[in-house]
Subunit: 131 residues, 3 copies
Amino acid sequence: LIKKLSFNTTEKYQLLDVTKEVEKLIEESHVSDGLCLIFTPHSTAAIILTENENRLRKDWLSFLKQLIKDQKFAHNQIDINAKAHLLSGLLGTDKTLIIENGKIIRGRWQQIFLVELDGPRTRQIVVKIKS
Amino acid sequence: LIKKLSFNTTEKYQLLDVTKEVEKLIEESHVSDGLCLIFTPHSTAAIILTENENRLRKDWLSFLKQLIKDQKFAHNQIDINAKAHLLSGLLGTDKTLIIENGKIIRGRWQQIFLVELDGPRTRQIVVKIKS
Amino acid sequence: LIKKLSFNTTEKYQLLDVTKEVEKLIEESHVSDGLCLIFTPHSTAAIILTENENRLRKDWLSFLKQLIKDQKFAHNQIDINAKAHLLSGLLGTDKTLIIENGKIIRGRWQQIFLVELDGPRTRQIVVKIKS
């Protein structure tokens, strides 16, 4: 079972909590035990698990910017989004989660986030649910 | 097949080799060919593959601290573990491995580690074995 | 279905686009819908998705070097490749992708790369295709 979700981001850098939308798909699938693969088909976005707390979301954005702050980018001669490509590759665009008793196994403070690194844009998330 | 393991960490930052425990589960499952998903349901821990060598484990901890050394954290106003959240999200909490002939495919120097980033605590690892 | 590919890298640090070779395996498998797990069994290499553009590949290498530039490594007393171990663990050695209608779902600028961090060497990639 493959489902596709679409989200509009509003900022250059943004953390968007997509947990509810993904968990709704699991519920609708009636899959009790299996795997759930969450993938974003973009080279300037990423998927992470982290806590949904306002200040932490800000910390994430400043952390990501700081990781690449000192660098000069050759790719920027053709496209100014080299930073976004590097951070997307570093964080990764796929997460595989376990479904047990119809629910995703995740910690209390682990929400699923789409990370926008070159917005605002319309972004896709592909969810594969496998029993 | 879903199995849950529990580990007590003893340090604030720690790399704990869980390879033996995970491979014992594979052996007991009698699954010959399939997938093995290793997941830790915590937002301040992570799963990595790396070599189990004393000095390298120390290098990992100093590397992780250095990645976030210059940063100020807004989230710390409510909880002083912002660093742990960021590193958990950066390293990731899931690894998917391949089972062939009843064994996990991994390199000679690739052991499976639970990374404690805000210990000491009791940590869970969930292992999903799928033929 | 498990397939193994072999690649010879030619540089100390190198990004090698393996998309064609992986997609050929998917095609030959005749699997229409499923999962594709790409794994490299080495502790000094990694798998990432990123755009195949000359200058961006250079940016990747300078970015990775910059992430660990200030660090002293205890592990180097026995083996000078500590940096490669840390970057391999940070980027990760597994990627799970979705197969739909006989093709891997990926963005237009998402190619599959083997990242060499301690070359030149002969490197393996293990591909598990699961319907």
